[in-house]
């Protein structure tokens, strides 16, 4: 991988500059912590401990990671087609609705191994459907997908409130929730599953859906880079004119990418609705859709990067909860702030450091190749 003199090697672009961007985001976060009177170094220690320090912590971290993998993959697939899908929140919500409705219909009649694929299918279909309308409007009518997907987030929230309060609420109950699912509608927790093998771990919300998240990573990787439909998506995203030249219809590709994106976001419902709460309820998406944006940008739209970024944010969520416990000044919103900074530095200001870093690299390379100091 040696570069010609005067050329910048790939690792600078692929790894170094993104790391610098993330470092800047964390640097600013540290400044904010310091400004509110929290020692940033100590905060990092507490976060790390809270995320990995004890076994239930790891479970929680991975449970959050699962959600972020789904929403991160969702945003990434859309980005590959050149689209900014901000509707992950709404698509996750409606996907979860699909999961819940399906389970509520059949959980008393079907065994688990039939309920699960049905739930996965419905999560995908409902999530995809919620993304399909903005996608259609963008592809065929030119409506800006960013605004329509944000609107659909709000509409999803209103819809869910209506359904939970008026339709699915249990008679006589005060809280807007559906009835609890029958056992067939429960995804086994990891601590349960490990228990079957004789391993004892403290209970945490981590459940079977983490396996599905890993499977989705592989499937998305395979689909985007190793199938012809993935090829078409990437071509439309990289160079729409070349796509038309190649006989690809950009409108159909936009629909496909967005529907896949919505489906992936919908799988949050598998984790939350089927895996953790075992009922339909409000606000189980809790901002995961927006975290997906940070995760995708940080992970540069590649499943490997997304897994790493999801782990990082899972760590921040769980460790952040620990930090909030220790330091009452810090709450969940600190993680949201970090998210915003990550999106800012990895997304909007992504190229800010490119110039200075490349120039510095060239200067160093030149100095190294002519130690006498003479210019080549």
């Amino acid at each position: 991988m040696s570069a010609a003199p005067g050329e910048i090697p790939r690792w600078v672009d692929i790894a170094f500059i993104p790391l610098v961007n993330i470092a800047l985001a964390f640097l600013v976060s540290g400044v904010i912590l310091w400004a509110i009177g929290v020692d940033p170094i100590q905060a990092v220690e507490i976060i790390l401990y809270g995320a990995f320090g004890y076994d239930v912590a790891l479970g929680y971290t991975l449970y959050y990671t699962t959600n972020f993998v789904f929403t991160g993959l969702a945003v990434a697939v859309a980005f590959h087609a050149g689209l900014f899908n901000i509707g992950g929140e709404g698509q996750a919500y409606i996907g979860g609705l699909g999961v819940g409705l399906g389970i509520l219909l059949v959980d008393r009649y079907l065994p688990f191994y039939l309920v699960l694929p049905l739930a996965v299918l419905l999560g995908a279909v409902f999530g995809a459907a919620w993304a399909a309308i903005p996608a259609y409007l963008q592809a065929y009518r030119g409506s800006h997908i960013v605004i329509t997907t944000i609107m659909f987030n709000f509409i999803a929230a209103a819809l869910m409130v209506y359904l939970m309060v008026n339709v699915l609420i249990q008679p006589g109950s005060m809280s807007p929730e559906s009835r609890e699912f029958a056992q067939a509608g429960h995804l086994p927790f990891m601590h349960e599953m490990l228990g079957w093998f004789g391993l004892q771990v403290t209970p945490s919300p981590l459940n079977l859906s983490v396996i599905w998240a890993a499977v989705c990573c592989v499937l998305v990787w395979g689909f985007i880079w190793h199938t012809r439909w993935g090829y078409e998506i990437r071509t439309v995203g990289a160079n729409e004119t070349a796509a038309v030249y190649a006989g690809i219809d950009p409108r159909k590709v936009i629909m496909l990418a967005m529907c896949l994106s919505g489906a992936l976001a919908g799988f949050v419902g598998i984790n939350e609705v089927m895996g953790v709460h075992h009922r339909l309820l409000l606000n189980f998406t809790a901002g995961y859709g927006f975290t997906g944006i940070a995760v995708a940008l940080m992970g540069r739209n590649h499943p490997v990067g997304i897994v790493l970024a999801s782990l990082l944010f899972g760590m921040l969520y769980q460790g952040g909860a620990e930090l909030a416990f220790e330091e009452p000044k810090v709450t969940r919103e600190m993680v949201v702030t970090i998210q915003g900074l990550v999106i800012l530095f990895s997304g909007a200001l992504a190229f800010m450091m490119k110039g200075p870093i490349e120039r510095a690299y060239l200067r160093l390379a030149r100095r190294r190749s002519s130690p006498t100091g003479q210019e080549a």
Partner: protein, 545 residues
């Protein structure tokens, strides 16, 4: 900036200047390079005040770069600019405007949603509050319209005006800022013949009022019609200055095209077979209502190369895009391998490929490749659904890589690295990747646009050999190129396109640069030209026009 060497006569310096007034514009030894491309090399130019001075040359000759330097878009690497005899430093359009230079660009810089008055005022408003500025502008505008005969409705929206009037707004913009020098860059490319005549009357009126006009064009007829002096650029250099009245279209054509060494390809006589492509009264009308392809008819048969010559922008690009399914047919149609395509039955690129036709696009980076893809991925663009590359739902990575490696070996692509990013290959090698992709399937019809644009000499020869090989193997080849050498050495039959129409057709054996140059500039019909070129059968004595 370098001092010009003393005592050296060069093109651009007037040897006899009866006028005492200093030249309106003087460019001395302008150099400008973009990377490795030398766009302007030691260019000198002298423009006398109150004249219309033409600058003529082929595409890529360096005319636009030179004018961009004069208007402050670029800074020259070395050289001097003198306006009215005084050296000036022009580093931005603001400096140029301050020096009294106004420019009418090839692509208009108007705000479509604003009125004529607002467009003209923009940047030269007389105060922070508009109401008084508008009144002043309107009054000044009326004066200018009267003095120069430029008639435009001041309150019309710029976007609603016909193209000829939009151009007048651009001219008024320059005059409003007190331009004493007006540069027009290819002004007639978008005008109808009547609008062109009106423009010339306006330029004449400007000249009489003392404005100096510089006209950049590739159209010989216009140079002869309206300019006082003309300078010829070729290959980045200024090769000649003439007084228009003392020269002729033929001389200018010769200077423009030059005596380049023909890259002759060894080719045998064509073995022509059946008709593969038959274009029948085909038209394509763009969104602006202008017919880019205007009732074109021709055929291409197996085993021959039909070359379409013409200055770029005369419809060849659109023609290729219609025939390859990228753009729709407006009226008429074409028969490809017996299948009729028209507006009722549009062709799309995947069908075209399924019918064993192939398309090498004119702009490889815009249409033919994806810069961020690895070469092997660019190498399957358009063919990604082929069973050769797919095993069920999955792309066969190994097969794709091997296929790319073979193609790279066959077409001498360097470096032979299928995994390397497309953007990291040189222009010539990128083009070879495109050619390998389109040619290696032995297409029955090959549509090729500008195959050697931005390609180095060694690769050019290779590409030409391959195109001839396709033709010898029985493909029908339709070649579009602005390089006359290329057309003349490769084509068996040559068609010339001008303003969307075929204005001439002749066998390659009968063609020469002078003749084609005249046809490309629509300066003569083939009949006329035949009479003017001595040595051809049936030639008669020439009477000068």
């Amino acid at each position: 900036m370098a001092e010009p060497p003393s005592g050296r006569p060069a093109a651009g310096h007037n040897t006899a200047s009866p006028d005492a007034a200093p030249p309106a514009i003087e460019l001395r030894h302008i150099d400008k390079a973009f990377g490795t491309v030398q766009a302007n090399k030691d260019v000198c130019l002298t423009v006398r005040p109150g004249t219309i001075h033409g600058i003529i040359g082929e595409n890529g000759a360096g005319k636009s770069t030179l004018m961009s330097i004069l208007y402050g878009f670029y800074e020259a690497d070395s050289g001097e600019i003198l306006i009215g005899g005084k050296p000036v430093s022009i580093r931005s359009s603001r400096d140029a405007i301050a020096a009294g230079i106004g420019m009418v660009h090839q692509h208009f810089m108007l705000v479509d949603t604003m009125s004529v008055v607002e467009n003209i005022m923009l940047g030269a408003e007389s105060g922070a509050i508009l109401t008084s500025s508008i009144e002043k502008a309107r009054a000044e505008l009326q004066r200018l319209e009267r003095d120069y005969g430029l008639d435009v409705d001041p309150d019309a929206l710029a976007g609603d005006l016909p193209v000829g009037q939009q151009q007048r707004v651009e001219i008024l913009k320059a005059l409003y800022r007190g331009a004493a020098i007006l540069i027009l860059d290819e002004p007639t490319g978008v005008l109808t013949p009547q609008e062109t005549d009106q423009l010339f009357r306006i330029l004449d009126s400007l000249r009489r009022q003392g404005v100096t006009v510089v006209l950049i064009t590739h159209k010989l007829r216009e140079i002869m019609a309206v300019t006082d002096n003309v300078s010829v650029m070729r290959g980045g250099e200024m090769v000649a200055d003439r007084v228009t009245a003392q020269t002729s279209k033929e001389e200018l054509a010769e200077l423009m095209v030059g005596r380049k060494v023909l890259l002759s390809v060894d080719k045998q006589a064509p073995k022509v077979g059946e008709t593969i492509l038959s274009v029948d009264d085909l038209s394509f009308v763009g969104k602006d209502g202008v017919a880019r392809v205007d009732h074109v008819s021709f055929t291409v048969r197996a085993g021959e190369i039909v070359g379409i010559a013409g200055v770029s922008g005369n419809g060849q690009s659109e023609l290729l895009e219609v025939l390859s399914g990228i753009r729709p047919v407006t009226s008429g149609g074409f028969d490809l391998l017996g299948e009729r395509f028209s507006s009722a039955r549009p062709l799309d690129p995947s069908t075209m490929r399924a019918m064993h036709a192939a398309h090498v696009p004119e702009d490889r980076l815009r249409s033919g490749l994806v810069r961020t893809f690895a070469a092997e991925e660019s190498a399957i663009l358009g063919y990604h659904n082929d069973p050769l590359y797919n095993a069920g739902p999955v792309l066969k990575g190994v097969a794709i890589r091997q296929d790319c490696a073979h193609k790279m070996a066959d077409f001498d692509v360097r470096p032979q690295a299928p995994a390397l990013k497309t953007a990291n290959f040189s222009g010539g090698n990128q083009q070879k990747i495109v050619l390998a992709r389109e040619l290696s399937r032995g297409p029955r019809l090959l549509l090729v646009g500008q195959p050697t644009r931005g390609v180095d000499i060694g690769a050019i020869e290779f590409i030409h050999k391959n195109l001839v090989a396709m033709r010898d193997a029985g493909s029908a080849v339709l070649l579009v190129s602005v390089e006359l050498d290329e057309i003349m050495s490769l084509a068996d039959r040559i068609l010339v396109m001008f303003e969307g129409r075929i204005v001439g057709e002749l066998p390659a054996a009968d063609a020469n640069e002078r003749l084609l140059g005249l046809m490309m500039a629509n300066a003569a019909t083939e009949e006329e030209a035949r009479h003017k070129s001595p040595g051809l059968p049936g030639a008669t004595v020439v009477t000068p026009e």
